[in-house]
Amino acid sequence: MSYVPDNLSYTASHEWLEEIENGLYRVGITEFAQEQLGDIVFVELPENDEAYAQEDECGVVESVKTASDLFAPLSGTIVEVNLALEDSPELINESPYDDGWIFVIEIADDSELDSLLSAEDYRNSIEDEE
């Protein structure tokens, strides 16, 4: 069973979110997602200051096996991206919840938070796939 930290929120498309201050969320992909992808060799990061609607494609994570779209988990504006991933995309494999974070988004609509999954919900959603 992949590690799913209790203190984070999740999407069905395998992103995690951590609220770092009011309205600012750090986003990455889950341990389960990186395990499924295999060795990650390239990340196309979203642009800083770019605005996205919830579920918009905002980047791509490419592994040796396949390319996987990255989705904006909530509507909002990108305020920071993890530039370390440009030279070291493997950080997502090594540390998906920490050094492998991908971007920070300032959310536009609090009501969308209800659509996120809890750790327990996400665990249940990947159970069948594991």
């Binding site: 295999g38 196309e44 490419e62 040796v64 096996k65």
Partner: protein, 356 residues
């Protein structure tokens, strides 16, 4: 779904299994990139028991294979191997294969897994006017040991001298049939043995510090080495002349199946060629991406991926023979990204051939 005799060994080694041509095969055992490096720098092993083994025997075996194959079966010695394509009457590639000459009238073909049914049907159909027996061997397993230390590791388990076994030759050691061949661009061996003996050999090799490697690493290794993959780099609609395999087709006596079409293509000049591409910036080249020059679309990537040895994205692309551009563009999502054009292979003997 078919399983090889080593299925449980794969699970025990932590493999992630995938469906490959109707077979449950390991894609990796954790890190495909580490497996790739193990083969380039040390020794890795692959279960390739899903591949098809066909023995061809009889008075007409040589004549039959001279007709069936685009390569020249008459130029190999006993115990020597030949890489060849097998063509349809239109010159398209039915399959690519390695054939070993085991005795004067006895050959062993090793061909792809996904093409098994059509290969057997084609061989049986073409054999009707020849005195040959065609027998698929289903109780055998194949282990490929690849890497600069492959000889050392395998030798530690055998008394037969491997050092004197030349590249593209084979020997028989009791129940083991050992060919000095492979699909990685490194030195190595393909060991054909009774399926029941394969798990024990696998375990001995694990104990000898050989790294189990999955189909993922096998793909990046062969791509770096400039080796074609059937179904991607060629298929029934492409002649070997148009996909970079002209070297494997015999120059005289175009009296093999598909030969008249090949002779005509040779006379008129090939229309297409397979070139190597190296992505200049960041990203990954993949099968199916469109290749352009300044005037628009010219071709397609047939195989592509991340190359762990060169740390770049590399690919084979099929483009017009007369396109001499040193730089092309590949369409990735909504961008056109520049690529350098090179002649494969990208890697030889563990070393990148790309200029910095």
């Amino acid at each position: 779904m078919n399983k090889t005799i080593l299925y449980q060994m794969h699970l025990d080694a932590g493999a992630k299994m995938v469906d490959f041509g109707g077979w449950q095969m390991p894609i990796n055992y954790g890190s495909q990139i580490e497996e790739h490096h193990a083969v380039r720098n040390d020794c890795g092993m692959f279960d390739v028991s899903h591949m098809t083994i066909i023995d061809v025997q009889g008075d007409d075996a040589t004549a039959f294979l001279y007709r069936l194959l685009a390569g020249d079966i008459t130029k190999i010695n006993i115990n020597q191997a030949l890489y060849s394509t097998m063509l349809n009457p239109d010159g398209g590639v039915i399959d690519d294969l390695i054939v070993y000459k085991q005795a004067d009238h006895q050959y062993r073909i090793i061909s792809n897994a996904a093409t098994r049914d059509k290969d057997m049907a084609w061989l049986n159909q073409q054999a009707q006017n020849f005195k040959v027996r065609i027998q698929e061997q289903t109780d055998l397993a194949i282990l490929a040991l690849q890497g600069p230390r492959a000889e050392q590791r395998l030798q530690s388990l055998l008394s037969t001298d491997l050092a004197s076994l030349k590249k593209f030759y084979a020997l028989q050691d009791n129940a083991l049939f050992i060919g000095r061949t492979g699909y990685t661009g490194e030195d190595g061996f393909e060991v054909v043995l009774p399926a029941k003996d394969a798990p024990a050999l696998w375990q001995q090799l694990i104990k000898a510090d050989v790294t189990p490697c999955g189909l993922g690493a096998r793909d990046t290794l062969r791509l770096e080495a400039g080796l074609h993959l059937y179904g991607q780099d060629m298929d029934e609609n492409i002649s070997p002349i148009n996909c970079g395999l002209a070297w494997s087709v015999r120059k005289k006596d175009h009296d093999f199946i598909g030969g008249p079409v090949i002779a005509e293509q040779r006379q008129n000049g090939a229309e297409q060629k397979l070139v190597g591409l190296v992505l200049e910036g960041r990203g990954v080249l993949r099968h199916g991406q469109i290749v352009c020059d300044d005037n628009g679309e010219i071709g397609i990537i047939t195989s592509g991926g991340y190359s762990p040895t060169t740390e770049k994205a590399i690919a084979f692309a099929r483009i017009p023979k007369d396109n001499m551009n040193q730089s092309l563009f590949v369409q990735i999502r909504n961008k056109q990204l520049p690529c350098g054009v090179v002649k494969p292979p990208f890697v030889r003997n563990g070393q990148s051939l790309l200029e910095e």
